[in-house]
Structure formats: structure tokens, C-alpha cells
Amino acid sequence: MSEETRKEGIIPGLPVTLESRLLSLLKGTDKVILEGVELELGELELFLPLNLNGPQVLHQSVEKALPQKERHFPDSLVDMQFLPVQEKYPGRVREVLLGATAKNGGTRSHSVTIGGSTSTALSSLANPYSNPPLISLDVFDMHVPLPRALRANIEDVMDDPGEWAKRNVEKFGADLVTIHLMSTDPLISDTSPRSASETVECILSAVKVPVIVGGCGDPKKDALVFSEIAEMASGERLLFNSVTLEMAEARTLEPLIEKVKEHEHTVLGFTGLDLNRAKELNRRLYDSLSPDQIVMDLTTVALGYGLEYSFTIHERARLLALIGDTELQHPTISASTNAWSAREAWMKMDPLYGDTAIRGPLWETVNVCTLLLAGVDLFLMMHPAAISTVREIVNSYKQGISKVPAHIYDWTGMKT
């Protein structure tokens, strides 16, 4: 408070009318005795008119009116220790083993494990990953229209699923490969189960990583195709993407999961943003399958098109699993390539918004990053830039035993 205002006795922020009335009443008085007034500490400001200039301005006036010598600062910093809450949950997400080596009846060079979480994802460096999230890269069995930014990296191998799969593993470091048998769609080419099975065989011989087999979404056709492949690749511990309640309605689910059980594979249960349906589907699957053969896809929607629903349902599912809902204690996957369905990922926009070559992969990256925080265990991805960013985050968390950052940069004083 400046010397000048103090002399004048004006409290800045108080309306002039009230202030002058008060001042004129108090003129020539140096003491005011309040009688019959009970004053609780903290109620002092009630004496002053609230709601005239808003509490903030009033607050400001009170602070300014305080002579500086009345401030009491501690002499030195109060010594405190921050003790983070260590959350312990009774539940645990099951582990699911994908891919089988020769020793276990398959032909993969190694198996991978997803799931096993005992806490919410990335919540504390004290709870490292049981199994770090993995990345599967897509291969399609037919020519699909892909945005330019995706096509550029694979254009020369798009007509050869085997070579495409190799590219994914050797160049982009895929932990798994997903072969999408889109051509089997009765509305597209209606490729036969036998021919689809040959495509999967070709993938299995081209790469040695575990393989995910994607269908066309038709509950009848997928069941036929998956059954054929389950038999052909007996013992490989493939992941069938996906089985659904629509299959149960079409009465194709039971025969399919019998095959999956017989030939020792795993399934991905797909439901549309609805945990009750996810649980219902799992209950049906438990009839034949062991729970450690089941992975969940709760639906991934693109950023700007409902990603928040995916984010929230994954957070809820994981919390419920940790609290003890056994029907949700399954690892989850996210088809994060769905990010590319957002217009912001592929459409030409005003130059201010940059080229799709950067917007596209960024959209995929953000989709994965947010669901990584929500606890997803396996991501279906496509763009190399998105993949390397996600690896950076996962590796940081894997190695994050140190609680001290390697670099502390001063952004305040930097020159750009």
C-alpha cells in the first residue's frame, strides 16, 4: 500500500458512496466500540459489503490495507517431505500369453505376455509395469485406401502381405503383426476361409513374432474364417480379433470358441463402449475358454470423435478390475489406427494447421498416449513417428526407477 493512499484513508476497491459515508460517520473519532456483536475469527470481512465489487476485489483491498510490518513470514522454509500415497488394490489383471514357440507347440521365435497390472497405469514409478504395453502393426490382405502419410512407408509392399509383415517387424520394430482379412467381407470380395487361411500361413512363415488375425466384422463369416485358421495354425496361440455378442446371436460363437479351445489360441472380445456387454461376452467365453485366453477391446474412437468415451471406459474398466471385478480382469487392446478416421488426421486444411503428414501421425500418437494412461496393454498402430513416440514414453516408464530428472531445462529464460 502506498504512502499516499494510507494518508488519505481510502481503501481502494470500496465503493465511494459507502466509504465516504463511513468516513464521515467516523470523523473525529479515534475509537469505535462494538456492542452486542459476536465476532468469530474469520468473519471479520462480513462487516464489509460483499457482492458490491465481488469478493476478489474486496479481498484485494483488505490485503492492500494491511501494513507490511504486520505480515509474519517464517524465517526459513518449513521443512516438509512429500509422501505419496501408495495405492494398493486387491485385484490384478490376468496375464495373457500370445504366440507359441516350438517348445509349446507353435512356430514363433518367442511369446509375448500382456496384462498383469496391479495398479493404475503409469501412476507411480514405484509400480513398474508387470508387462510393458506392446505394439502390433497392421497388414491388410487387399488393397485398402490409406491416407498418404501411411501409404508412403509401405506402398511397395501393399500387395504382398508377407513382405508387409516383414517390413513391420524389421523396419518398424513391431512386437506383433495383425493381418486384417478384410477381403473375406461378403460385401467386398467374399474371399473363402481356405484362401484367408493361406494368407495367414504366409504371414506366419514371413515373420516369427506372435500374430493377431483380424476378420471383416461379419459374425457368420468371421466364425467360419477363424475356425479354419484355428485348425490350420493349431497350437500357435494366435489372437482372433474379434469375437462378439453378435456372434452369440448368430449362434456362431460357441462352435468357434470350441475350435479356439481345441487348438489353443486366444480371442479378443469386442464390445461397443459398454462394460455390461463386455462382462456378458466374457461370461459366455468362460463357458469354453480359460480366462487367460481372453483379451478385451472396449472400442477406440478417434480424438475429436469421442475418444473421451474410450478413455473413460478404459479407466473405469481398469479400476473395477483392480478393485476386484473378475469379469473385467483381462488385458485390453486399442485399435488406435481408428485415429485416422478423424478428419483432422487426413483432410487438407488451412495451411495454419500444417500438412496431414504431421497431423495424421500426431492424431494416432495422441490416441495411443491417452489410452496408455487409461491402462491399455496392446496397441494396433501404423505410423512410424507415432510408434517411436509411444516407445519413448513406455521406455521412460520402464527405466523410470530414478525419481530425479536427467535434465531440468529453464524454459522461462530461454531464447527461441
Binding site: 462480513l46 476478489q56 484485494q60 490485503e63 492492500k64 507490511q68 513470514f73 517464517p74 522454509l77 518449513v78 521443512d79 516438509m80 517431505q81 512429500f82 505419496p84 500415497v85 503409469l122 501412476s123 507411480s124 514409478l125 464390445t271 461397443g272 463402449l273 480424438l303 475429436g304 470423435y305 469421442g306 475418444l307 473421451e308 468415451y309 478413455f311 473413460t312 479407466e315 479400476l319 478428419r343 483432422e344 486444411m349 495454419l352 494447421y353 500444417g354 504431421i358 497431423r359 500426431l362 492424431w363 495422441v366 498416449c369 491417452t370 494412461l373 521412460s396 516408464y397 523410470g400 525419481k403 530428472p405 531440468i408 531445462y409 529453464d410 524454459w411 522461462t412 529464460g413 530461454m414
Partner: protein, 479 residues
């Protein structure tokens, strides 16, 4: 441990408060001024987050002040709400009632501040401030904008910094964040704008006393910064609280690259402690600084902007209440702007429009009918595409519970019977004399069954509504 530490009782969010507890503290007039039939109904909607204390006029009367204060305490968010800026424009940050979005709703969408460095020329500052001021992205009929300006001291010269602050203030009403560790620089600048209540960045273990003095003199909120050291952060916050500085914001440090896990872990630990423990005085808003991507080693601007672009949504998802960024590239800001809007919607209510028939242009009896969903984004996207192509048509908006086409088909909300219901319920046959509907390409799977159930001929439209003009040329005008 010092005796100045304030003991706190465990906090609880408003959603954990019983409506009865609220009801007991209401004036009990049953006056209906809030729009409800009685005080109990108001209480129920208050704890549901649908009303605030401002919605009850009697509560704001002089003689109910005691009730109002008690209610304020009862319903106060565990993470304090702090504001900065002045009457021209102010921002609220924090005010969080829950840890997880699905528990309630996140309040006070994360403001995004863009930096301006004081070493720029006056002209450059004006240009940058104008870019911040004018940035605008339209998304489902809403305007996404930037919120604040962070002026950075890069020279240590009080005059230079104060000048940058003055220019920014002259050219923009947006609230300011003054960034300097030097109390002399801070004091000079804030003296120029004494009533603006900028956010002061930052008090550290070195300068906290001087910064506290300035914060109190100008009654401005103060950021407490202790990058990477949570113990020191807590020490500083406790000390400043004991010094009487009421409004604090915490900066635990934002580290990217190989240290991103430390960042996420620290933000999560701070916020979790507020809700799970409550004994430590850390119920303050958290500041995240994706701008860190531009500091340190020399990187290409694309790489820095890329890091900033993904770090911002990650920080928002992990409890950051305010962000400072550098990039003004549209692509780098879009994810943050969209994700902020989405994350802060009420998870119990989808962003939906009403189902029904919407004419676009001047449709007649022969005009095409497009089926779409009542998810706001889907609807506005389709509507804007047909409008800009100047197509006269009807949009038949089906109630899909606010889901987009893809999710609605997968979740069976968009199905032959829901389409049939819409056709009959909204009397489509009165409007057109043909019997054709065009369904979204992403719903191709249900075309056959839809024909069967509705009795209308079904044409499968493009997967994205930007393809509608071409589709009409090829499939409608020739049919």
C-alpha cells in the same frame, strides 16, 4: 517438522455430500427462484453438479450469509479454485471435485497460455499477441480459443520485461502470466498493471520471501516452482501458506523425452494425495509446461512442436489445471484444444443434438434424405458439408444415444429398427414423395436389413460426408 503446518481434515468432493446435508443449510423458502419446485430438489441437483450456490438467490441475501459460508465449505472442491486476471477477463483454474472423470465431471477446462519473450521487438510482440488473440478453431459449432499470455523474462532487465508486459496489456485483454524468477523484474512489471491480478511465476526456494511480498502487495496468485523435487514443492507451498499468501499454483516441473514418466508420476502423485490422503496441503491447481519441449538441446522446430503437441493432452489427462505452451502452429494446438473440450464434458451426458428431421437449404418432395446420428460432432459435420455444397436435402437424425456412426453401428444403436422408428416417428413420408434413404457408408453393413425393416430403398452413402456432393452426382442425380 515445523509447527506452522496446518492440520487438515480429509476432504470430500461435492458428489460425496448428501443432498440432506445441503438441504439443512438452505434457507428453506421453497420459493422456486432457482427453477426447482422446492429446496430439496435444488439440493439434489447441487450435489449432482448441475447447480452452483449462485443459482439460489435467497442464499445470496445478507441475512443468509452464515448459511452461505457453511454451504461453501461443505461443497468446496478438494482442489481449490483459483482465479487470475481482472474484470476485463479472468480465468478460473483448479476447482476439481474428483480424481477420475467418470466419478463426476472435471470443472474449469485447462486454460492454454502461450508465451511471449521479452527480447522480441515491440512490433514482434504485438504480432505474437495478436496471433494469440485471434487464434480460432471451429469444432462442432463451438469456438476453440487460446486463453492467456505468458510473458517471459529472458534478459533480466526490469525495463525490458515491463515494456513487454505493457505492450501485451495494451493489445489484449487476456489474463497474463508474468514469468521471471527475479523479484526486481517482477515488481517493476506488476507495478505497471497493479490491478490486473496476473498469475506470478514463480516462487522458488531462493526468492520465496520477495515473491510472497509482491503477491500480497498486489493480491495476485503465485506459482510455486520446484522442478522435480516434490518435498521442496510442499515445503514452499506450506511456507507461503503460512506467510498468508492465499492463492497458490503448484509447478512440479514438466520433463519430456526420457523423463516423461517422472512428470506423469509426479502430477499423479500430487493429485492422488489430495483425494486419497488430504492431510498434506497440496490441494492447489497444477501447472504443466509443455513449452519445456523448446528448452535445452537444439532441436528442429517441428520436433519441439511435435513433443509439445502430444505432451499437452497427456498432461491434461493427468491432472494439469493450466498449461503454458510455445507453439502457435495450428496442428500442434489442435489435439490440446479438442481433447480439453472432450475431457471436460459431462461423462454422464453425451454431446448430443435432438433427434428429428432437419431441412438443409430449401428441400422439396424429391430431395434426398440422409440418415445420421445425434452425436453432435457427426451431425454438425454432415450439416456443414451439405450446407457448404449448397445441397437441398433432409437430414434424418436418429437417436443413437449421442454416439458417432461407427460406435453406434458397433453398439447397435444405429440399427434397422432405430432407423424405422425415426422414419415413422418423424413422418418422413409426408415430406418426400420418393421412398429412398441414404445411410452413412460406415453403416453399410445394416443396409440390407434396413431395407427389409423399413420398406424404404437404402442407398449406401460415402464413409465421410465430405464425399456427399460427389455421391449425389453419381448416385442420386442419375437414379
Amino acid at each position: 517438522m515445523s509447527s506452522t503446518q496446518v492440520k487438515r481434515k480429509k476432504v470430500r468432493g461435492v458428489h460425496e455430500v448428501s443432498p440432506i446435508d445441503v438441504y439443512r443449510l438452505l434457507p428453506g423458502t421453497n420459493c422456486g427462484e432457482c427453477g426447482e419446485a422446492n429446496c430439496m430438489a435444488y439440493a439434489a441437483r447441487l450435489v449432482n453438479g448441475e447447480y452452483t450456490l449462485e443459482n439460489c438467490p435467497p442464499l445470496n441475501e445478507e441475512n443468509n450469509k452464515k448459511l452461505r459460508i457453511s454451504l461453501g465449505e461443505l461443497t468446496a472442491p478438494p482442489v481449490r479454485e483459483i482465479s487470475f486476471g481482472d474484470a476485463r477477463s479472468s480465468i478460473k483454474i483448479g476447482g476439481k471435485h474428483v480424481l477420475f472423470r467418470h466419478e463426476f465431471t472435471y470443472h474449469n477446462p485447462v486454460p492454454i497460455a502461450i508465451d511471449v519473450e521479452d527480447s522480441l521487438s515491440g512490433e514482434e510482440i504485438v504480432k505474437r499477441v495478436n496471433s494469440i488473440e485471434n487464434f480460432l478453431y471451429n469444432y462442432i459449432g463451438r469456438e476453440m480459443r487460446l486463453d492467456a499470455i505468458a510473458i517471459r523474462d529472458t534478459t533480466g532487465e526490469p525495463e525490458r520485461f515491463a515494456n513487454a508486459v505493457r505492450i501485451a496489456r495494451e493489445h489484449s485483454d487476456k489474463p497474463l502470466i508474468l514469468c521471471t524468477y527475479n523479484p526486481k523484474v517482477m515488481e517493476k512489471a506488476i507495478s505497471l498493471i497493479p490491478d490486473s491480478r496476473p498469475l506470478l511465476y514463480a516462487a522458488t526456494t531462493e526468492n520465496w520471501k520477495e515473491m510472497a511480498e509482491i503477491a500480497l502487495n498486489f493480491s495476485s496468485p503465485l506459482v510455486v516452482s520446484s522442478p522435480g523435487d516434490m518435498g521442496k514443492l510442499l515445503s514452499l507451498a506450506t511456507t507461503l501458506e503460512a506467510s498468508g499468501v492465499p492463492d497458490l499454483v503448484l509447478d512440479p516441473g514438466t520433463f519430456l523425452e526420457e523423463d516423461i514418466a517422472i512428470t506423469i508420476s509426479n502430477f499423479t502423485a500430487l493429485r492422488t494425495s489430495v483425494f486419497r490422503d488430504g492431510s498434506q496441503n497440496i490441494g492447489y491447481p497444477l501447472l504443466g509446461t509443455p513449452i519445456t519441449a523448446w528448452a535445452g538441446e537444439d532441436l528442429s522446430p517441428e520436433v519441439s512442436a511435435w513433443r509439445e503437441a502430444w505432451a499437452a493432452p497427456v498432461l491434461m489427462s493427468r491432472y494439469t489445471d493450466l498449461l503454458i505452451m510455445h507453439s502457435l502452429e495450428g496442428w500442434a494446438l489442435l489435439p490440446a484444444l479438442l481433447w480439453r473440450f472432450n475431457l471436460y464434458t459431462d461423462p454422464r451426458k453425451p454431446v448430443a443434438v435432438d433427434a428429428g428431421i432437419r431441412p438443409v437449404g430449401s428441400p422439396g418432395k424429391g430431395s434426398p434424405v440422409f440418415i445420421t446420428t445425434n452425436y453432435a460432432l457427426t451431425f454438425f459435420t454432415v450439416e456443414s458439408d451439405v450446407k457448404s455444397a449448397e445441397i437441398d436435402c433432409y437430414l434424418l437424425v436418429v437417436d443413437t444415444g449421442g454416439l458417432s456412426v461407427e460406435s453406434a453401428v458397433a453398439g447397435r444403436y444405429l440399427n434397422p429398427s432405430s432407423i424405422a422408428e425415426a422414419i415413422n416417428g418423424f413422418c418422413l413420408s409426408d415430406l418426400v414423395d420418393h421412398r429412398k434413404i441414404i445411410i452413412p457408408g460406415l453403416a453399410a453393413r445394416i443396409s440390407g436389413d434396413t431395407e427389409e425393416v423399413t420398406g424404404w430403398e437404402v442407398l449406401v452413402g460415402p464413409k465421410d460426408s465430405s464425399g456427399i456432393p460427389l455421391f449425389l452426382r453419381n448416385r442420386w442425380n442419375n437414379s
